[in-house]
């Protein structure tokens, strides 16, 4: 069964989220050897603070067995900000009807081989079908997903081969990572469902969702607070802040390309009279 947790209901699912972050730590930290931050056995990164949506698979006992994270490609997302290597220096796709999916994983320790409802294969297909259905029901037409070659083979074998890729396969930890494109069409969803023998609604009903929630609901205030605020901005970005930002960019640049990019931006803002000093003057700051 599948539960969707996002910024609107995450305050009620502390237990499920903790289990999910622990699963991600085992998969991405231990098994795949990616450079991820693990604190208290949980893998959490900066994108988890941006109110993503999680599509989470649970077994009959209510234990997390699979998960994936979705973000809009119009805003901050991993291919734009972290996995840009995969794109060979090219700009990421940005579209209202394209979501990015990352951190797709299943628990191979709890699930078994074979084709039963408790197998790796079934859990993978159920999570895949559910994320495509959730996206399609949101008016999304395509998903760009960051996966490793093993997952890529699993997709192909499950009659869910990506229709294309962006960028190229790049080494990452013990394995490699790539960005695959999947359409959220009825056809693709039906093929995965048929492959794994998934029938009917995979999403939890209201009563089950309630049963999976934490026993004591947190206070309303905490529920409403959020890192992505409707914080009404106090004042516009000032010129000195902008200059400081550019200086930081110049100082922090670790490659020639980054340095050139920072200089280009500074020149552009100087030409538009948004800053008072030239790059050379700022660099000597």
């Amino acid at each position: 069964m599948i539960l969707i947790i996002d910024g609107m209901n995450r305050h009620r699912y502390g237990r499920v989220l903790d289990e999910m972050f622990a699963l991600r730590a085992r998969v991405f930290g231990d098994r795949l050897g990616w450079e991820v931050d693990i604190v208290d056995g949980k893998e959490v990164d900066q994108f988890d603070a941006l109110d993503p949506a999680y599509v989470i698979g649970l077994n009959d006992e209510g234990r997390v067995v699979s998960c994936v994270r979705a973000l809009q490609t119009t805003g901050p997302h991993m291919l734009a900000d972290v996995f840009s290597d995969i794109l060979d220096g090219e700009a990421p796709l940005r579209s209202a009807t394209l979501w990015e999916s990352t951190r797709f994983c299943v628990d191979t320790e709890v699930l078994d081989r074979g084709n039963s409802r408790n197998s790796v294969s079934y859990a993978t297909c159920e999570l895949m079908a559910a994320s495509l259905e959730y996206a399609r029901n949101s008016g999304i037409t395509d998903i760009v997903t960051v996966i490793d070659p093993i997952m890529n083979r699993v997709l192909k074998r499950s009659d869910c081969a990506p229709y294309d890729y962006v960028g190229s396969t790049k080494p990452m930890g013990k394995v490699a990572a790539m960005a695959a494109l999947l359409d959220c069409t009825e056809d693709r969803i039906n093929r995965i469902r048929k492959f794994a023998g998934i029938e009917g609604n995979v999403f939890v009903d209201d009563a089950t969702a309630e049963a999976l929630a934490d026993p004591t609901p947190v206070a309303e205030e905490r529920a409403m607070s959020c890192s992505l605020g409707w914080h009404e901005p106090e004042k516009p970005c000032r010129q000195d802040q902008l200059e400081q930002y550019l200086i930081d960019q110049l100082m922090d640049a670790s490659t020639g390309e980054e340095l050139a990019g920072a200089k280009r931006l500074a020149d552009m803002l100087f030409d538009k009279k948004m800053i008072a000093r030239r790059v050379t003057e700022m660099a000597g700051h």
Binding site: L93, G139, Y163
Partner: protein
């Protein structure tokens, strides 16, 4: 903090309130509303095509500070159907009032996130039975997603600094596809020429349109030529 009603500001290329009317007209909707915040510009924007009396009432009561369609929906990545907000605090108060002004309870809010921490919320309503609403929704949701981002990006681009930062960065793939379209090739032709699927062409075209702030491919080609990103054929 400044609140700018863009419907009253002369605008270079488009009138945003007119855009709301066009979306309603094209998709059989009653009303549409946009609210957005741009942290770099330090501004909050809002405009609607609701009846003026309802706008006044809404602001007088300070509903913008407790409306779940604004407060909660911004934390979702998916469109939020107002059905799911009925148990949220303040929903009943606001929507009972809205009803008195002829605004339906049937509606949804599409959250848009931009690259600078900017957020836009695009809401639409339609007075109709549940079943009809569900059918309409599944038919128009993709288009509404596109409209929401188009509208939000336009608002963000109305500020000089964010406009500069948002200078469209097209990938090689997006550029070559737009170049072939400019040369008069169809989407299928481009797919054949580049030996990729038509769906790949489509996903890159959609991204190219979004980056160029264009609603149609023709408009995207025009803008890309204007910016020197591709050559006129």
């Amino acid at each position: 903090m400044s609140v700018i009603d863009l419907s009253k500001v002369p605008y270079p290329e488009n009138n945003l309130r007119l855009f709301l009317d066009e979306v309603c007209e094209a998709h059989e909707l009653d009303y549409a509303a946009y609210a957005g915040v741009n942290p770099i510009a330090g501004s909050v924007h809002g405009f609607v095509n609701y009846p003026d009396e309802w706008q006044t009432h809404y602001v007088e009561r300070g509903y913008q500070h407790k409306d779940p369609a604004l407060i909660l929906a911004r934390r979702s990545i998916a469109p939020v159907d107002w059905h799911g907000l009925r148990s949220a605090p303040a929903f009943q108060t606001i929507f009972r009032d809205a009803h008195d002004f002829g605004i339906a309870e049937q509606g949804l809010t599409i959250p848009v996130r931009g690259p600078f921490g900017d957020i836009g919320l695009f809401s639409v309503t339609r007075d109709c039975p549940d079943r009809e609403w569900q059918l309409l929704k599944s038919k128009i949701l993709s288009d509404l997603q596109g409209a929401a981002v188009q509208l939000h990006d336009n608002v963000v681009r109305s500020h000089a600094l964010t406009r500069t930062l948002m200078h469209p960065a097209l990938s090689k793939r997006e550029t070559e596809i737009l170049q072939w379209i400019a040369a008069g090739k169809s989407q299928q032709d481009v797919a054949d020429i580049l030996s990729i699927s038509s769906r790949t062409v489509e996903v890159h075209l959609r991204s190219g349109r979004t980056k160029l702030g264009a609603l149609t491919t023709a408009q995207a080609v025009g803008r890309a030529i204007g910016m020197g990103l591709i050559c006129p054929d």
